[in-house]
Structures are given as C-alpha cells and as structure tokens.
Amino acid sequence: MKKQTTIQTAVSEVNDYATLALGGNVLHRAPMAFVRELARQKKSHLRLVKTAGAHDIDLLCATGTVDTVDAGFVSYETLYGLPPHYRKAVQSGKVKTNEHACYTVISALRAASTNVPFMPVNGLKFGDLIERNDYFVVVEDPFTGEPVTLVRAIVPDVAVIHVQECDEEGNAIIHGPKYEDVLMSRAAKKVMITTEQIISRYKLKQQRERIDIPGFLVDKIIHVPKGAHPTSCYQKYDVDDRALKNFLSLKERREIEKFIDQYQQQDHAVGGRAVRW
C-alpha cells in the first residue's frame, strides 16, 4: 500500500500512447515537474486532455512527446502570447488538435467519471465544430424527439495533479482554484499526485472537510516542492515571469532540452523526504 514514490518511477509507469489529463489551468498549478520528466524519459504519442493549457502542452509539443491534444484553449495569457511550439506542431501536422469548448472536455470527463459512453451537452448547437469532429454527434432525444448533441467520453489513463498538500495515503487538498482537477481524479483510471508537501494524516484529518481527493482514489504520491514551477502554485509561489519568457525565447530542440535539464535536480531531489508533522 505504499504509494509514495519518485517522479522517475511514477513517469516510468506511463505508457506511450497513454491519455493523460493534466491538472491546473493555463499558467496555474500545471504539474510541470511530471511534464518535464515525461520529456526526459522520451515518452511519445501521448494524448493530452485539459480544458485550457499553456506551458505544459507547449513544452510537450516542443519535445515531440504528443500526438493529440484535446482542449478548449491552448495559449499563454495576455502577457506571454501564443504557444509557439504547439502551433508549429499542429500547423505542420505532427500534432492533432481535438478542439473542444472547454465545457465539452468537462462533459467528456464527466462521462468517464460515471462510466457512460457519452454525455449530452446543451450548449453546443451551432457551428463547424460539431460537423468537423467525430467526437460530437447530434441525435434525437428519445423522450421528446428534439435534437441533442452528445460528446464522446474521454477516459484518461492517468490524471496528473499537482497539489499544495497531501498525506501519506494521498488525501489531498487543493488550495485556491481547483479548476477541473477534482473531476479528473474521478475520471481517470489512475491518479498520480505531485505535491508541495506531504503532511501527517493526523494533521490532515484536522482539515478533513477540505479534502478534495480522498486517498483511496490515489495511486501514486510524489513529493516535489516547486512541482508546478514556472507556473504558479497558490500560497506557494507565483508565475516565474523570467523562466517563462526564457522558455518562449527558445527555438531549437537542444535549447528546450537544456531548459528541461536545468530543472532536473529540483524535480528529482526530494522523493524520499520526511513527512511534516
């Protein structure tokens, strides 16, 4: 029942061609240490799922790790502009975008969390997205005869979620915005948590009403302080402006790999560190 492991071991259990749901949103609380290790271990053909991604998706497109992205929005925020590597990969045909409406990613994950093959969606009524994508279909409601749009379920093999704190069992608390992370923990076949801190279960029990992911849903726990860096982690650190701008200035694959290498010590350092009481 020992769930605590290193990021190297956890990532080694991710298969090529796996579907990964990545926690966080745009520049916030993305599981970057895990993402960088996916690149280091040269995983390939991954399918990434997220309502709105940025640096995580962009980095994995830069390293050739990704085949498909299911998302509603992929871009850095105003200050940093568009994701160059993602765009290039899609425009060159190396990466396929399954464009969603953010909500349809949520709906597809809800379908997975209840183990049904599709979810009806009210809002998706007009436009080319329905016609051009085979994961949307319009059917007749058997109760009323009215048309209703269905979105096909997306079942992630692994949900990767970075949190501020959890205990040795994996009982995890997300402080601040939770985005789609709680849903992802219910939709995926396996749940891997990277965490800023591991605290004792006795201490965590004092905040038990705030637990977002109960431990029995969690397969792996990896202790990685700064595990969301250079995206933000509420109450721990803000977006690292310099690191992001640095990344966005890089063009060559070799430069990107060096950028990832610079994090290696930090990402690998503290797998076995003691629990906080």
């Binding site: 949103n25 929005f73 105003t78 899609v90 909500y103 601040g176 915005p177 977006v239």
Partner: protein
C-alpha cells in the same frame, strides 16, 4: 476632451455601461478589460452584479491584485464564495447566465465567430488558441459580449474561415466602434468619438450597416476617477 481618457478607458466604460444591476456576468482568461469593467459597474450602478470567473471566486471584493492574469487564485482569495468553471458552464446551460464576455479572432457580418483556425481546419495555416468556452456560452448566455483590442479588415471579414460558434451575440466592442448583432447581422451601433465613419469602414472587411451615425458616450469623470482607484495598475490596458 480626447486627452482626458485613453481608448482602453473608453472601451472599459462602454462595457461597464452595458451591465445592469443584479445580472450574473462571466469573464474568462486574458480578460482584464471586462474584469475591470465589471468592477466599475459594481462600484457605480450595479452593486448586485454577480461577478463569475474561471478560478471560481464569486464577487471578488478587489481586483487590484489580479495582476497579469484573470484566471488566478487572487480572484478566489478575494471572493465571497467558490463557484468553479464547471458550475458556471452548467449555470449558462440552464439559462441563468446573463452576460458572458468572450474573445475570438475573426468575425463576420453574419455574427459568426472564429477562434479556431486560419485556413483549413485539418491543415491550418494558423492554429488559433481555440474558442475556450465560446462554443457553448455564446449559444446559451442571454447576452454574449465580445471585446477586441484590434479592429482591422483581417479581424472583421465578409466570411470567417471557420465557424467556431454563433448564437446570442449581443455586442462587439473594438477600439473604433461598437457593433450590435441584430436581425441576423452585425450592425454598427456607435462609433467612438475619436474616429470617423470612414476610418471604421476602412478597417472593416464588410460594408458597414447603419441608419445614422451615432457616437459612443464618452466616459464620465466619475467613471474615470473610479477606474483609477479600482485598477491602479492599469490592467484594463494589458492588451494594448
């Protein structure tokens, strides 16, 4: 008078004036201008407006710390309750979201919105960020408002390359004018005081539709003073 305010101030005030008291209003990521406009409205004429956002902070009491982002934790920290993005979408599906602020890259005279691709969908010349929530919010929010800090013939086109969505589009606010979507077409609502109808036409890729030329109301002194107080770091100009 023109020097009293900037285009970003004007646009922010125009947006604020569209909001009514008690409405539930949502903005997404990279949406500093509508975020500030919502707070301006709350301060001046819509104290019971309900401010919803991606991180999930309901009615954040301040946006001063919202910084570069409009999807960060600060909005939750200052909020009075938590109501996440999934719930906001559900709310809109139920017809209970009054106003949604959304983006887009290309717009045409028929009210179609493109946030997906330039060129072919499967082999795009340019892959755009995607419509985020637009494709479900524009058809379900009671009033969808688009703001855009660029107004040129590549933005406002005869026919979009790809229809990411269409639906309950109400207004589009640009640095030059306000469009209103009426009778299935994008009509000119008002032009801003600092421009001319000729300039707006020149920057628009389809023939403007209007009965008379009306000018956008300039920001009031009270609005400008309030803006300075609630948005001291000028996030409303982030996209300029």
């Amino acid at each position: 008078m023109v020097n009293d305010y900037r285009i970003s101030d004007l646009m922010t005030c125009v947006i604020a004036d569209m909001l009514r008291d008690g409405e539930t209003v949502f903005h997404g990521v990279s949406s500093q201008m509508p975020m500030v406009a919502m707070h301006l409205a709350k301060q001046l004429h819509a104290p019971n407006l309900v401010h919803l956002n991606i991180p999930g902070g309901v009615n954040p009491s301040s946006i001063k710390k919202a910084s570069y982002s409009s999807a960060g934790a600060d909005l939750v920290e200052e909020g009075e309750a938590y109501f996440g993005l999934d719930e906001i979408f559900d709310l809109s599906m139920r017809g209970k979201l009054d106003v949604a602020f959304l983006g887009g890259i290309q717009f045409d005279r028929h009210g179609n919105i493109n946030a997906s691709v330039i060129g072919d969908y499967d082999k795009p010349k340019v892959r755009l960020p995607g419509g985020a929530g637009s494709a479900v919010l524009i058809p379900t929010a009671k009033k969808a408002v688009i703001w855009r800090t660029k107004h040129d013939p590549r933005t406002f086109v005869e026919q979009v390359d790809f229809v990411t969505t269409r639906g309950n589009l109400w207004k589009i606010v640009t640095p030059l004018c306000v469009f209103v979507f009426r009778n299935g077409q994008l009509e000119l609502d008002t032009i801003h005081p600092h421009t001319t109808i000729e300039e707006v036409q020149e920057q628009t890729g389809f023939p403007l539709i209007y009965h008379e030329i009306r000018y956008t109301k300039a920001p009031t002194k009270e609005q400008l003073q309030t803006l300075k107080r609630i948005d001291p770091y000028d996030y409303r100009s982030a996209e300029f």
